[in-house]
């Protein structure tokens, strides 16, 4: 491709009519949905994780554990694009706030995965730790709060970050329900300039940079938390 042609395409994709503003707005929608979903997902996921590991005195699963299992099964067993569309076109058909619907839908989706992450994190803490806590005279609840959870937190942080990264990228499907997120904006500009390459690469670079920054920040946090580890 000639250089002038490339410049023309870049100009059309980003500069004409201040189109770069559209990408920023799209990124705003993407971030709103992702952050809302992440917060909701962690809340739902934590609750579901504790529901799932709850046992009765005779060692069998509680009703709550069964409910959590069904929730996780259904969410993991259906495509998220379908979940968003069901939420938008069927369940919450009367709501006008698309961002809220998408955030809610992705939050419920993410909650199932977060639940499994947290459950795995808790189970990874050695049983001896619980036993030691109980021997020292702490109650079950106290052992959980002051011995198991602080250790589990370090276990779950990396997979949680990973889940957020997946979530951020997965929001690219909200264009299906009329939201103008980053991916959709790139598509809109492509359909106007008839050049798909430049806007799509542009959007890809923006996603990449955002996620790179996130990873760096969370790397630092993780290292900070490991400072007390003697290894």
């Amino acid at each position: 491709m000639e250089q002038s042609e490339l410049i023309r395409k870049i100009t059309a994709a980003f500069l004409t009519g201040d189109r770069w503003m559209l990408y920023l707005k799209g990124l705003g929608i993407t971030m709103q949905v992702a952050v809302m979903a992440a917060v909701l997902g962690v809340i739902i996921g934590t609750v579901a994780a504790f529901m799932k590991i709850s046992v009765r005195k005779n060692g069998k699963k509680t009703i709550l554990a069964h409910i959590a299992n069904i929730y996780i099964d259904i969410i993991r067993g259906t495509p998220s694009v379908l979940q968003v569309m069901i939420m938008y076109f069927a369940i919450l058909a009367s709501s006008k706030n698309g961002v809220l619907i998408a955030g809610l839908s992705f939050g419920i989706n993410s909650g199932a995965y977060v639940a499994e992450i947290i459950r795995a994190g808790i189970l990874a803490v050695d049983k001896g730790q619980t036993e030691a806590g109980r021997s020292l005279g702490l109650s079950n609840f106290q052992t959980m709060c002051s011995i198991v959870i602080p250790q589990a937190f370090k276990n779950v942080l990396p997979p949680l970050v990973n889940e957020f990264i997946v979530l951020l990228k997965e929001t690219a499907i909200v264009g299906y329900v009329g939201l103008s997120d980053l991916t959709r904006v790139a598509n809109q500009i492509a359909s106007k300039t008839y050049d798909f390459f430049t806007p799509m690469i542009g959007a890809a670079v923006i996603y990449f940079v955002i996620i790179k920054i996130l990873t760096k920040l969370l790397d630092r946090l993780e290292r900070r938390m490991r400072r007390s580890d003697n290894r």
Binding site: S94, G178, K192
Partner: protein, 258 residues
């Protein structure tokens, strides 16, 4: 810092390299041979636009445009293979993935920069779909409203460029936009006359349609999009003229549109 510069340079080179491949001359599909020996014309459409194109009961695109392009290709001694794709990506796929596009596509200046068009075969105007009992009636009523459109259509262009203060929501399908109109998420939908009429019938009592002429929308002309500088334009035009002369065209209009 040096690393960053090196990384950026690498990225730019990669992009440039990819671009070079992307713009290379991909052979057109026009000369590929069908099993029967007749060359195959690969035609793109977006089968979400009744009565011009829709997915028929057999899962293949059907409708006026599909029947028309088959008749045109027959006159040219070719078979047709339909490709159903997003409307917004049709124009950029012409010349690479498809040989032509017929999709109720209006001739516009922007599209003419990228493709050539055959002679027009249908005159259309954009219609405005509003909820039943809406007070929208004149051009000024359209300002500062939330407008639903199908991505990349002329309705999209009108909403984006000719209406002040419009909050434009883009959908993959016109039906999704009308669905959101009924759910109260958009105030109006701008779409071509014929599909608007189909929606009015389907959602009677829930939506009303208004002729775009009332809002000063210009009439548009549908045509078949072909690669820029293609010699097919003349052949297609000749076939179209023949079909109009021998009554086939009117028969198709009667069958699909009226």
């Amino acid at each position: 810092m040096k690393k960053l510069v090196a990384l950026l340079t690498a990225a730019v080179l990669c992009v440039a390299g990819l671009t070079a491949c992307g713009s290379g001359d991909t052979p057109a599909n026009a000369d590929s041979q069908a099993a029967g020996g007749r060359p195959v014309l690969v035609v793109g459409t977006n089968a979400e636009f009744p009565p011009f194109e829709y997915v028929g009961d057999n899962g293949e695109p059907d409708g006026f445009d599909v029947a028309l392009i088959k008749a045109v290709a027959d006159k040219m001694g070719m078979d047709v293979q339909m490709e159903n794709m997003e409307f917004g990506s049709l124009v950029s796929a012409i010349g690479t993935k498809i040989d032509a596009a017929i999709a109720g596509m209006s001739i516009t200046e922007e599209r003419l920069l990228e493709v050539d068009f055959s002679d027009e075969y249908y005159e259309a105007v954009q219609f405005v779909v509003v909820p039943a009992g809406s007070e929208i009636a004149a051009a000024a009523d359209l300002e500062n409203k939330t407008i639903g459109v199908q991505l990349g259509t002329t309705g999209h262009t009108i909403a984006d460029e000719s209406i002040t203060g419009a909050d434009v929501k883009t959908y993959n399908k016109a039906l999704d936009a009308v669905n959101d109109l009924i759910n109260g998420r958009v105030d109006l939908v701008i779409i071509d006359k014929n599909p608007a009429e189909v929606f009015e019938e389907q959602f009677s009592g829930q939506v009303e349609i208004i002729d775009g002429a009332q809002f000063g929308f210009e009439p548009e002309f549908y045509a078949i999009a072909l690669p820029k500088g293609s010699e097919m334009v003349e052949k297609v035009n000749a076939a179209l003229a023949e079909l109009k002369a021998d009554g086939t065209f009117d028969a198709l209009v009667a069958e699909y549109i009226q």
